[in-house]
Symmetry: C2
Subunit: 156 residues, 2 copies
């Protein structure tokens, strides 16, 4: 990390003198010209300058990293950029939520079936005519399962 | 949807004549000046022009919408912009994947316990000394459950 007199990657690309207090220099070192080139292509040096000026110094490194990420996404996918990734992740979340709801409904369903199959010894079975309710055990479980799925889907 | 002679929102903001073939006009109508102002602030008119020029006409409306979305995200969160949303969604996915793994392990665990409690009538119980294996049923299930969780976590 020696001190270098080379202009930063931004000033090199913009062909200007790199001042001692250059706002780009801490984030765009001369050995990584591509990093600035890509944000310059998408956002423009003037806009990046303005955006960084509006932030506190300790926030600027994170802002530069997120701008580089966004610019790379836009170069890879010129139509959707980062928004394509957001849409993909939102779809993944919907699928996982659905799978989780199904798994949780399945757990409830198995637990209810187990409770019906093995009534707790603490209850007086004469007061709970469970065997009579189970006219068609498979169909009954399926209906419980579908009802649970419906409840879970409606609650989302 | 009558034909209007008003310049589009972009040309109005940039104080220039809106040509018949203005690249911005189809996407930045004069009645919505904020839409162009926000993408101009983040990306700059010149960059948006270049990005649209590089796309096919039928892709441009989607590109403009995604640029407006990204610009709005950057205005709301000047440090992380869209990348903040991506990070949040990725965390949500990790949590859902973990919850799903736990739920699926729980289903397997209950099913294994049920199989042990009620051996299938198709099997000859003399060949499968299941009752002998169940020295400590609760502890055994717990260990199976933890092993399954370990397998699922290692596979991710």
């Amino acid at each position: 990390m020696g001190v270098t007199s080379s202009p930063c990657a931004s000033c090199k690309l913009l062909r200007r003198r790199c001042a001692k207090d250059c706002i780009f220099a801490p984030y765009f070192p001369p050995h990584d010209p591509h990093k600035f080139a890509i944000v310059h292509k998408v956002f423009g040096a003037s806009n990046i300058n303005k955006m960084l000026q509006e932030l506190q110094i300790q926030q600027r490194a994170d802002a530069v990293n997120s701008l580089v990420y966004e610019a790379n996404a836009r170069i890879r996918d010129p139509v959707y950029g980062c928004v394509g990734a957001i849409s993909y992740l939102q779809n993944q979340i919907s699928q996982l939520e659905m799978q989780l709801a199904v798994a949780q409904a399945e757990i409830l369903c198995i637990q209810m079936q187990n409770n019906q199959d093995s009534p707790s010894p603490n209850y007086d079975n004469n007061n709970y005519n469970l065997p009579e309710i189970q006219i068609d055990n498979d169909n009954n479980n399926l209906q419980q399962y579908l009802r649970l799925l419906e409840i879970i889907n409606n609650s989302n």
